[in-house]
Symmetry: C2
Subunit: 79 residues, 2 copies
């Protein structure tokens, strides 16, 4: 199965790249786009025969050990 | 409404950062994680009073004009 992990800075942390994108979009006339923040997307394959619990446990463990800086980032798993 | 735009390199394009993550995860004992690719996540607010068509049209236009390099990247809109 293909898994998507969305990693974003916590909301109280300044994310300058999103501000740059927002400014550029506004300059192009896209004034409805607000509160833009950029994060990371990590996509990966896990074996189909894993149970949901095994899958969740492995992903959480990988996030905590390598992928996510828990101090400033949070993550969301899709699929 | 909060929109997520997932931007990834097209599958035929080499994505070295994902290979580095995969190697690191394998070294940590996560051998089930395969075909890892890193991409970008852009999250933004759009006004709730937009219709689905207006929303889709604005997002597609912003992606084509600024956010996505159509030659090497593809995008997916969630929410």
């Amino acid at each position: 199965m293909r898994i998507k992990i969305l990693i974003r800075l916590k909301s109280q942390i300044l994310e300058p790249q999103g501000k740059v994108i927002e400014h550029s979009l506004n300059n192009l006339g896209f004034n409805e786009f607000n509160n833009i923040r950029q994060g990371k997307l990590i996509e990966l394959d896990l074996p189909d025969n894993l149970s949901k619990e095994e899958k969740d446990q492995k992903i959480d463990s990988a996030c905590k050990k390598l992928l996510v800086n828990d101090i400033i980032e949070e993550y969301e798993v899709l699929g």
